[in-house]
């Protein structure tokens, strides 16, 4: 075998931004079966909005479709546009059917949207907070009314927020919908065939898909949360592809003869942020000091094996890549200070903050994530150099998830490290969660951050119909909140895909989280 196992590992080359691949050339030939590994593990649910995963986007088509480059095109809806600043009209495409052949109706759409609108725990709840009502205005038309203009709504319904489920089936399934027990009924390119808990999810091509049947006839998902095992499986050809493959195996992937590593653009970033409004973590100075103590280039080499870039704030540039006012956003981003190491300044900041440095701080990380465990070690080491003590609390998936849902789970924690991303185009969805007061949707604003200018700026960015003006409002707010480091962003991470040499056509950008990434997958 030509696998390179003998050369010594050395610092990996960084990736040239211009070589990023958002999607591979569309496939031309049919493939009987493809096995895809989910490194994130088994989904809790494949109902869009109930859990993030790479399975749901291929099953449930949305009203609009996000393209690999984060632009938006028509989906189940022919058109979805603002008819006035507070009214949004969705016209459905003719002849779209669910997997069982029943037509997709306006009622189904209303039902699906209401799921997000009415359920606080839903991932897309935030996108619907300005909605006052929605109704089927005809068999093929849905009208949504707003209290204020919402520049982000269209983005949201292009992602899982606009996924359409069969009302009849879903109501029948009740609580079990989207689980291995309840199944699902959608209109996407792949049909859920079977789900063996803990083992695999089998999906088959929807031959009647409105956009044409996919080339892969059977797409099976297996769950391989362990990075080394995944690497083995991929190199071995036991699995045809996977997203978010472990950066640590980069050289093994690059030397592989079974497949190739594709590096694509992403909104993902590795960061850590405060979980408390008390003590050091709640102090912006301490956060700035920590930020200054960490060498980003070295971090990217160590943790991402070069598959990332230095990111200035916690909203990644790719978020606005398809937006109308992209230039404005880019200019605002470019104006931000690029994080750099300055130990002396960091120590000084710690001193100035007046924080009692003898109190150890606790950083939570999820178990089994090599990247975040390395991150924790690096943060710990950096903190030590500026006189802070950080202890690491590694938590199992469910306990870790509880941090985001349950206040009591955050007790005793000061920071939490995560890999964050937004699967929806647009800059607002992500920062809002951290910056706005809790009652306005800042559900992750645990440090009690409150800055009127920022709040106003973000609100304006959302409710200003004019794209450029909205962008400017956001950029102005960003200038204020970026230095406060509500997330200490350590690096932007590229979207990595390992794909068998026989296959092509996959979406290889972060859009895979929100659009049918396997639609064009097939043989070379």
């Amino acid at each position: 075998s030509a696998r390179d196992t003998t050369t010594e590992p050395s610092a990996s080359a960084s990736v040239d931004e211009s070589t990023l691949v958002a999607s591979l050339p569309a496939a031309t030939s049919e493939v009987d079966e493809v096995t895809w590994a989910l490194v994130e593990g088994e989904p809790r649910s494949v109902v869009p909005g109930a859990d993030y995963n790479f399975v749901a986007p291929n099953l449930c088509d949305s009203l609009l479709q996000i393209q690999p480059d984060f632009s938006i095109e028509a989906g189940i809806a022919d058109s979805a546009e603002w008819t006035d600043p507070v009214t949004f009209v969705i016209d459905l495409r003719e002849g779209v059917t669910f997997w069982d052949g029943t037509p997709v109706t306006a009622d189904d759409v209303v039902y699906s949207l209401e799921r997000h609108w009415k359920d606080v725990t839903d991932a897309y709840y935030g996108a619907f907070v300005l909605v006052t009502s929605m109704e089927a205005t005809s068999d093929t038309q849905v009208t949504v009314h707003f209290t204020a203009p919402d520049s982000d709504f269209r983005n949201a319904i292009a992602s899982g927020g606009g996924a359409v489920l069969s009302k009849a089936y879903s109501e029948e399934a009740g609580d079990t919908l989207g689980t291995s027990a309840g199944g699902l009924m959608c209109a996407g390119p792949y049909e859920l065939e079977s789900w063996t808990p803990g083992k695999e999810i089998v999906t088959v091509a929807n031959e009647d898909y409105w956009g044409g049947a996919p080339l892969v006839k059977k797409l099976t998902y297996t769950f391989i949360p362990d990075g080394t095992t995944l690497t083995n499986a991929l190199l071995e050809g036991e699995v045809d592809g996977a997203f978010n493959v472990p950066p640590a195996s980069r050289s093994a992937f690059e030397g592989s003869d079974t497949g190739r590593l594709v590096v694509g653009p992403s909104t993902a970033s590795l960061s850590f942020g405060p979980t408390t409004d008390q003590g050091a973590a709640a102090s912006p100075q301490i956060r700035q000091a920590l930020s200054m103590a960490i060498d980003r280039e070295q971090y990217i080499q160590t943790v991402l094996n070069g598959l990332g870039y230095v990111q200035s704030t916690f909203v990644a540039p790719f978020s606005w890549s398809g937006a109308e006012a992209a230039d404005v956003y880019q200019a605002g981003y470019d104006a931000l200070a690029v994080p750099s190491v300055d130990m002396d300044a960091a120590k000084k900041l710690v001193e100035e903050s007046g924080i009692d440095t003898s109190v150890p701080l606790t950083l939570a990380i999820p178990a089994g994530s090599k990247e975040l465990s390395q991150t924790a070690a690096i943060v710990q080491s950096a903190a030590q150099q500026i006189g802070l003590t950080i202890e690491i609390d590694e938590r199992q998936a469910s306990d870790f998830a509880a941090i985001f849902l349950d206040e009591s789970a955050r007790e005793g924690l000061d920071f939490v490290a995560t890999t964050g991303y937004t699967e929806t185009p647009g800059v607002l969805a992500y920062p809002q969660l951290f910056l706005l007061p809790a009652e306005l949707g800042g559900i992750f604003n645990w440090s009690g951050y409150s800055n009127d200018a920022v709040t106003a700026g973000l609100q304006a960015a959302r409710t200003t119909p004019d794209a450029t003006a909205a962008a400017q409002a956001y950029v102005d707010a960003q200038e204020i909140f970026a230095p406060d480091m509500l997330q200490i962003t350590l690096a932007g991470a590229y979207h990595t895909t390992f794909l068998s040499n026989e296959l092509t056509g996959a979406t290889t950008s972060v859009a895979a989280y929100s659009s049918p990434w396997a639609l064009h997958l097939g043989g070379e």
């Binding site: 010594e8 590992p9 070295q298 089994g368 390395q374 080491s381 590694e394």
Partner: protein, 287 residues
């Protein structure tokens, strides 16, 4: 003060005799002493701070500055192995101590009192024996969360039957010996019989079992850490280091997991050899 001085300078002569007659034993003893020294003074011996990042290049192969190479965070593997000795060695020692104390006490009580005490304790032992050690550890982790404490307690309980069965059998046969009856007839007190005669008679067997148990405890704890249920990063427990070094193995840097693995194997091997010798001696002492 060196060992030789302590022993009045007789050690070299002794060592030569032992070396000539049983080189394997000598090697095992030396290795064990070294490992114990590592467990006690590991961090002091470490050339670098075991948790300091970037003391060398990332994932570098062994070199003069870093005899065991460096890991994916640029930490010195030798230093980490040395620092990890403490938890890797001490945890199994705890398991052995706990299981031996509990098991021996239970066994001696059941052999001494017989009857209902024996019936109940034998049943308890049987039940514990039926639940595989790893399962017990996993159950404990599921109940009390990860870390070394739950597995240590669980394994101590899991090993209890092995010790208890052995000690019970030995204790029973010892108690059945006519000299025990003779002691009673002489009017020697029960406590004196138990602690002056019974326990010393059982000690060689218990010691032999303990050394063997240590090896198993070390392997099991390392396995539990390997499964991610035991000691947690950034601890440099050998089990974790082996697990953490796996990805590097795929990219051609085997030293990250192989050096700690080597230490686990060598330690267990050395202690097993000692255990075999102790067993032989114990059996010899019986005759």
């Amino acid at each position: 003060m060196s060992v030789a001085q302590l022993a009045g300078g007789r050690v070299p002569g002794l060592a030569r005799r032992v070396a000539a007659r049983d080189p394997l034993f000598l090697a095992a003893a030396v290795v064990t002493v070294l490992i114990v020294a590592m467990a006690l003074f590991g961090p002091l011996l470490a050339p670098y701070d075991p948790n300091a990042l970037y003391v060398g290049p990332l994932s570098a192969p062994p070199s003069l500055e870093h005899p065991f190479g460096t890991d994916d965070l640029g930490r010195d593997i030798l230093s980490r192995v040395l620092a990890g000795a403490a938890s890797s060695v001490v945890a199994p020692v705890f398991v052995v101590l706990l299981s031996t104390l509990l098991g021996a006490a239970l066994a001696i009580a059941s052999a001494w009192f017989g009857g209902a005490v024996d019936a109940v304790s034998s049943r308890v032992i049987e039940v514990i024996f039926a639940i595989p050690g790893l399962v017990l550890a996993v159950l404990a982790v599921a109940m009390f969360g990860k870390g070394l404490v739950a597995p240590i307690i669980a394994l101590s309980i899991a090993y209890l039957p092995i010790v208890a069965r052995l000690v019970r059998t030995s204790a029973r046969s010892e108690l059945a010996q006519p000299y025990m009856a003779a002691l009673r007839i002489q009017g020697v007190g029960s406590l004196a019989i138990c602690f002056r005669h019974l326990v010393p008679a059982l000690l060689p067997a218990i010691l032999a079992q303990s050394t063997i148990g240590f090896g198993y405890a070390m392997l099991d704890l390392a396995a539990i850490s390997f499964l991610g249920l035991g000691a947690q990063p950034p601890s440099s427990d050998w089990g974790i280091m082996i697990a953490a070094g796996q990805p590097a193995l795929l990219t051609g840097a085997p030293e990250q997991s192989m050096f700690p693995a080597l230490f686990v194997v060598v330690t267990v091997l050395a202690v097993n050899i000692l255990g075999a010798r102790v067993t032989t001696w114990a059996e010899g002492a019986e005759r």
